[in-house]
């Protein structure tokens, strides 16, 4: 046998082989001296494996060796060191392990026969991680070892957080019945149950504990008290549910609840609704049995009626109503409690509270009446009137008309402050030096934060600087950019890794002596093209001075193929093609400046400035790059000084000729945006189409990219939102409006599907992209841009308003407020389109009322009313068979505004019919209120 003569070399061989069974075998019959001799090399080898062995972390041999080493530590290490070693590795048994490492450690320890096993168990129990039961699974091996040691030594089970968490475990490790049996067999485990409630994250196994409580093995009061304490502390819903199911299954008797009244009351302000619901239910049960101390009702109601959950508030009002019906003598007490609910926002809850209050008004004494009259100030005007009829007016209040009149003026809600939402009206100065350019690139949000987006002004400034310095100070620019290429974007990556063009990659190789072959990105995006521009500027200017733009450069066909395969959408194509042209141009035909750099933050270009640039080109004898000039033309405002055209024509250059022809032709050839209902053909049913408005004249090639005649096909095939990189893609959306700053509707049309998908949360590829920083910012930028607010913008904002994500809805409201502030929002027209959209797409109105309420808060009550009034006819029967989900919120807001400002104009079609209906559906009640507010007198 080796055992008798086990030397370190033999043990090391066993460890390397991962032979746990062999180690156990060999460790038998070792003398204390032999064990001592093995201790140092063993500890040293375990350490070496850990420190040096991480390189092997992908080999299974390494892992089995290190586990074997940890098992082997049991042969000779003293308890303190052994505990550390055992907790370092995981003693998890792999499916193909012949021997369970935990059993192996136990066997070795047993053979060693040391008196400190209890001490070891204690140390391991201290180490075991507490908290989430699911995380304790990672330490499952250590837990099993500890439990086995506890069983072997016969000590009391430890009460550390980690031990009890592991002990409760998870149902798939040990069923409830097995756990219950274990406790029946060993009553020393009952303290662990009590401890479980004190450890946040430990599982509460109702299925195991409840039968034991009925049998008398576990103390019911321990379970109930523990459960209540745990609920008061809170936690994730799944844990709360465990505790609540335990308490429900225990079915506390009235005596038990009565003893713990204060504990149940302490559940009422809980963060989560579940504990509060339990508390309310049990206290009500107590009260129904006549065992709730009367003085507590006010406290209970005050807490519950402040909560946000309608269900809880309604239940509390019902309870109060029942008390007053049962015992009219308590009417005054009930009335004072009900008054708290007057402060709830929802008209429905206010109405319910008032109904209860009026029902029992006759029981009120003078003081209570005064209190209720005071509290009624928080009610909506119509309800306030009813409250006044029942309880009188608050002391010191003036006559109702005089009280209400000032509220109807604009003084109460200050008029919309457009200023905070305005963009700066002037651009920052151009970038002055290559070093400043590098600082700009470093300081950019979008290049450095995964959740940020590119700022259009930043992008144009950086492009202008790259082009200018490439031509004026190429050496300085290259020097500055080298610091950038050294380390950027958090990675040590040569620029070539970020470009899609083989030419820059190859040249970088010659420049830096990059030893490995360049790797091309197989998918192009605006970001890869921006890197190409930077890469081009950073490489050797060996082709400087070319007069003409090159017909074709090396690697161009590869780029074209990748570009086609990337299937960019229209505006993406424009951006990418323009960036591509700049990257080629910088190397092969540098120009001292870009034509298209805007002169206003929204992207507009002053025609005089463009003419000056063209004049400079003519003076210096160069022609602008083609797409650059086209983009410049697209950025011209609609009204251009008529003298500009003739002045340009006199210059005689090609560029000047194009400008003159463009102006002669009336500017932009015009793209028409129409609402496109593709119902039955594809989803979403309603999108915007973009088609040429008139034929003839020179159409810039860039514009043809923006045609959107087949929205269905576009949605199906185009990679508007590549799944792998939606952050990067959305990051460029803010640059879209600046492509056509005077025709924002065209750009908006291209964004419609994105927000349509968000609204219905359908579609796999693009889910959630609308909730990115860039997507939300583009809404504001569209509102800041110029041009009609046509179907494209209406649809984008309409879908945005119904977005599933609250932040998207808020972004849409923000855009809406900007439009209102600029006097460009026609609430009625928008509302009509919005109503039709909701009805035809079957969208829910969840959160729309809340979002529009924010707009009203900001002072846009009038436009919001116009929107609601115009939208309602399409949303009410008979226009729709069933009103959309949460319509009541919208009508509620409408009624609130109507009560406030008493707008002129007819009652929206269909509303009166709905209001005349019987029933207590919320939207019917709100419709009644709205009709009343609109009726004169």
């Amino acid at each position: 046998m080796i055992a008798a003569t086990l030397e370190w070399s033999g043990l090391k061989a066993l460890i390397d082989a991962g032979d746990v069974a062999g180690i156990v075998q060999a460790s038998r019959d070792l003398s204390a001296e032999q064990r001592r001799a093995l201790a140092d090399p063993l500890a040293a080898y375990e350490r070496w494996l850990r420190v040096a062995g991480w390189r092997e972390m992908f080999s299974s041999e390494f892992w089995s060796a290190i586990r074997a080493a940890h098992v082997a530590c049991a042969i000779s290490l003293p308890p303190a060191k052994l505990a550390v070693a055992l907790t370092r590795g995981d003693l998890f048994r792999m499916p193909d392990d012949p021997v369970d490492p935990v059993a192996a450690v136990l066997e070795i320890l047993r053979a060693r026969d040391m008196p400190w096993l209890a001490d070891l168990a204690d140390r391991l129990a201290q180490w075991l991680p507490a908290g989430d039961a699911r995380r304790a699974g990672a330490a499952a091996g250590v837990w099993r070892l500890t439990a086995a040691l506890v069983a072997t030594t016969g000590i009391d089970p430890p009460l550390t957080e980690g031990y009890v968490t592991g002990w409760a475990g998870v149902p798939w490790e040990r069923t409830d019945e097995e756990l219950a049996d274990e406790i029946r067999r060993d009553r020393r485990l009952t303290p662990l149950v009590q401890r479980l409630f004190e450890v946040d994250g430990a599982a509460i196994r109702a299925g195991a504990f409840v039968p034991l409580a009925w049998e008398g093995v576990l103390d019911r009061s321990v379970l109930i008290d523990g459960g209540l304490a745990r609920l008061q502390r809170g936690g994730p819903p799944w844990q709360l549910e465990q505790v609540i199911s335990l308490l429900d299954a225990l079915a506390p008797s009235l005596d038990e609840v009565a003893q713990r009244t204060a504990d149940y009351m302490a559940l009422l302000p809980a963060s989560h609704r579940l504990p509060a619901e339990l508390g309310q239910r049990e206290l009500r049960r107590l009260d129904d049995a006549g065992r709730l101390e009367p003085g507590l009702l006010a406290d209970i109601s005050a807490t519950v009626l402040y909560r946000r959950e309608h269900k809880l508030v309604r239940a509390q009002l019902d309870w109060l109503d029942a008390i007053a019906r049962r015992d009219p003598a308590r009417g005054a007490e009930v009335l004072r409690a009900v008054a708290t609910a007057f402060g709830q926002e929802s008209a429905d809850l206010q109405r319910r509270a008032l109904t209860v209050a009026r029902r029992h008004a006759r029981h009120a004494d003078a003081r209570t009446r005064a209190e209720l009259a005071e509290a009624a100030v928080a009610l909506r005007p119509e309800l306030r009137e009813r409250a006044a009829a029942a309880f009188g007016r608050p002391a010191g209040a003036v006559a109702p008309e005089a009280d209400d009149m000032p509220r109807r003026t604009a003084k109460r809600v200050p008029p919309l402050a457009a200023e905070p939402l305005a963009v700066p009206d002037r651009l920052a100065d151009p970038i002055g030096s290559p070093a400043e350019l590098v600082a700009e690139l470093h300081g950019s949000d979008a290049l450095n934060r995964w959740d940020a987006s590119f700022d259009p002004v930043w992008a144009e400034r950086v492009l202008a600087a790259l082009v200018a310095f490439s031509s004026q100070d190429r050496a300085g620019l290259r020097h500055a950019l080298r610091g950038l290429s050294d380390r950027f974007f958090g990675y040590d990556m040569p620029l070539s890794r970020w470009t899609g063009h083989p030419d820059w990659a190859a040249r970088e190789k010659t420049m830096f002596g990059e030893p490995t072959a360049p790797r091309l990105l197989d998918y192009l995006s605006e970001t890869t093209e921006l890197w190409s521009v930077i890469g081009s500027a950073a490489t050797a200017p060996d082709c400087l001075g070319a007069e003409r733009f090159p017909e074709s450069v090396a690697g161009e066909s590869t780029w074209q193929r990748a570009f086609a395969e990337s299937e960019p959408s229209g505006p993406q194509r424009i951006l990418m093609r323009r960036l591509h042209e700049i990257s080629i141009g910088i190397s092969y035909a540098p120009r001292p400046l870009l034509m298209a750099t805007p002169t206003s933050p929204s992207g507009l270009l002053d025609p005089g400035v463009l003419l000056a640039r063209i004049e400079r080109a003519a003076d210096e004898g160069w022609e602008p790059w083609e797409l650059d000039l086209e983009q410049a033309l697209l950025r011209l405002p609609p009204d251009v000084d008529p003298a500009t055209g003739p002045r340009a024509r006199r210059l005689g250059t090609t560029a000047a000729g194009r400008l003159a022809a463009w102006l002669d032709g009336g500017g932009m050839p015009g793209l028409e945006v129409t609402r496109w209902d593709t119902r039955g053909d594809t989803w979403p049913g309603t999108v915007a189409a973009v088609t040429p408005a008139r034929a003839g004249g020179p159409v810039p090639s860039l514009l043809s990219d923006l045609e959107l005649a087949e929205p269905g096909r576009w949605l199906r095939s185009a990679r508007i939102v590549p799944a792998w990189d939606d952050y990067r893609c959305a990051a460029w959306f803010p640059c879209w409006p600046a492509m056509l700053p005077a025709h924002r509707d065209v750009i908006a049309a291209h964004l419609v599907p994105l927000f349509a998908i968000e609204a219905a949360s359908r579609g796999y590829r693009s889910r959630g992209v609308a909730a990115r920083n860039g997507s939300m910012r583009v809404l504001s930028l569209l509102a800041h841009a110029d041009g009609p607010a046509g179907p494209g913008l209406t649809l984008v904002l309409g879908y945005g308003l119904t977005g599933r994500e609250r932040a998207v809805q808020e972004a849409a409201v923000r855009a809406l407020l900007i439009l209102v502030g600029r006097g460009q929002f026609d609430g009625v027209a928008f509302g009509r389109e919005f109503g039709a959209l909701i009805a035809s797409e079957g969208l829910p109105l969840s959160g729309v009322g809340l979002a529009l309420r924010q707009a009203r808060q900001a002072g846009a009550g009038g436009p919001v009313w116009g929107l609601i009034a115009a939208a309602l006819p399409a949303l009410l029967p008979p226009a729709v068979a069933r009103p959309p989900h949460n319509l009541s919120e919208l009508i509620e807001l409408g009624a609130d505004i109507a009560e406030d400002v008493r707008p002129a104009g007819p009652v929206p079609a269909g509303l009166a019919e709905v209001a005349a209906r019987r029933g207590a559906a919320r939207y019917v009640q709100e419709a009644r209120r709205l009709v009343k507010a609109l009726s004169p007198g």
Binding site: M265, A266, R412, H442, D492, F512, R806, E810, Q854, Q857
Partner: protein, 491 residues
């Protein structure tokens, strides 16, 4: 000093005697003005509005036990709240385990009726039975409150001493101290009436506070929101606008939810923002009957206050003789008056203010937003040492000591192992760098170590002039950036 330990020693556990309505808060350590000792005794008397006071204390205790993001190992060791007696008021402070949320309950003189025995700062024991008992306190008669051991209890000490050992991570300590400096830079941006305050707090995403664990606000959007005053209330914007207050991780206001019924008003404080601002810190102050509860939130849920670097420049400037002088003049005032301090110390008001900032980083003053003034309190810990050992500051000093900084007018080159960082000083006094930190946070989180080192070196060289000589003869050879041709492989 990554991690030091701290042990609390209480004469007996804090307890609430429910039938007698007597709340006894036990104390441990800290400082007291008149009779310092292991268990300072500050107050005995009655506490009005017991329901609100109990809920406020629970909120402070909850923040101390909360981790709003999961960081590091799950060791559930939480620090007890700190209580300060300023004579006319009691302040209970706590700081979340994640280091991103600060809570303070100011119990004002209107809610206190009793005897002040001493002024000072100490820890108070909060334990689970006390927490449960506080949760049971309803309205009704005033609660009898004792901060510090009862004289009766002291004489009959029966070996019920409580000892709690907790780790004090340096980042937690630094954050606790630094928040005072950050709060001093915040101004009132919005003030809401009780009705509007309740409406706003109710509208925040639900499912907020609870036990430790990661919280995800509803949905996918986890960016900062901006709360903008509008009409009588506020509205939420997705982008910063002037006058807005950043609300990052709205779930962190969840500790206020159980207090709704007591809320009498809400004030929001924050630094000035403009369009395009990065997320910033904010403070939310709730008026309760006779009390104020303030929550301070870090700029992002995963960011602790320790890394905000608000005081690095002041620390880098060195010399805190003024702070020592001013510190000696303080006597646990509820309001530190700069003018009177200036008069008594003979220092100019500006220097007094700087000294107060300095004292803040040492945990020796707190900032009360409602009063817009510092108050004197001495954290029972020693954050000053942690602050001195701030990693960025330490690294910057090491860089200067290694002579890795080359000054060339407004352009400073800092050599770090194998690469160089360029620090550019703008004419206005600001500075930019080419490191990752600057890329990510710009100047919203304090200077990076390169800028700090550059400032130190520039100050050493003398007045910053275009022709300033190099701080060192040049970087050591080993620190030189390799020539571009000799680029290393992918890291």
């Amino acid at each position: 000093m990554a991690n030091t330990g701290y042990s609390y020693a209480y004469a007996c556990p804090s307890a609430l005697d429910e039938p007698a309505r007597r709340l006894g808060l036990q104390t441990s350590g800290g400082q007291a003005l008149i009779s310092p000792g292991p268990h300072p005794r500050f107050f005995t008397g009655f506490l009005a509005h017991p329901g609100a006071a109990a809920a406020g204390l629970l909120a402070v205790a909850r923040v101390a036990q909360e981790r709003y993001v999961l960081t590091g190992p799950a060791a559930a060791m939480f620090r007890d709240p700190v209580v300060t007696c300023n004579g006319d008021r009691l302040r209970f402070e706590s700081f979340s385990g994640c280091g991103g949320v600060y809570a303070r309950l100011d119990v004002l003189s209107g809610a206190l009726d009793g005897e002040v025995h001493d002024r000072g700062t100490t820890n108070v024991d909060v334990n689970e039975p006390l927490r449960r008992a506080l949760a049971r306190v309803g309205g009704g008669d005033p609660l009898h409150l004792a901060v510090g051991p009862d004289e009766l209890a002291v004489t009959t000490l029966d070996g019920r001493e409580v000892e709690k050992k907790v780790p004090l991570p340096a980042r937690w300590l630094r954050g606790f101290a630094e928040i005072q400096v950050i709060m001093a830079r915040c101004d009132l941006r919005a003030e809401l009436t009780a009705t509007e305050a309740v409406r706003f707090l109710r509208s925040l995403p639900a499912g907020a506070a609870g036990s430790a664990g990661t919280r995800v606000a509803r949905g996918r959007w986890r960016g900062a929101q901006w709360v903008v005053p509008a009409g009588r209330g506020v509205r939420i914007d997705v982008e910063p606008v002037p006058g807005a207050v950043c609300l990052a991780g709205a779930h962190r206001l969840g500790a206020l939810a159980p207090l709704l019924r007591y809320v009498r008003g809400l004030r929001a404080y924050g630094p000035a923002v403009t369009a395009g601002s990065l997320p910033c810190a904010s403070a939310w102050e709730v008026d309760l009957p006779g009390m104020r509860l303030t929550l301070g939130l870090s700029p992002e849920a995963h960011r602790g206050f320790s890394g905000e670097g608000a005081v690095l420049e002041a620390l880098a400037a060195g010399a805190d003789g003024d702070a020592d002088l001013i510190g000696a003049l303080l006597a646990f005032e509820p309001r530190v008056e700069t003018d009177s301090l200036a008069e008594r110390s003979g220092l100019a008001a500006a220097r007094v203010r700087e000294a107060l900032v300095r004292l803040g980083t040492m945990g020796r003053v707190g900032y009360d937003l409602a009063e817009a003034a510092y108050f004197h309190r001495e954290l029972p810990y020693d954050p000053g040492r942690a602050e001195q050992d701030n990693p960025r500051l330490r690294d910057a000093r090491a860089l200067v000591a290694a002579g890795a900084v080359t000054v060339d007018g407004d352009l400073v080159t800092v050599w770090v192992t194998d690469h160089a960082r360029q620090v550019r000083f703008a004419p206005g006094g600001g500075a930019s760098c080419t490191c990752d930190w600057w890329e990510k946070y710009r100047d919203s989180r304090g200077s990076c170590k390169h800028v700090l080192a550059a400032r130190m070196a520039r100050d050493e060289v003398g007045a910053p002039g275009p022709a300033g000589p190099s701080a060192s003869a040049g970087a050591p050879e080993s620190m030189r950036v390799p020539e571009p041709g000799a680029r290393g492989g992918v890291r």
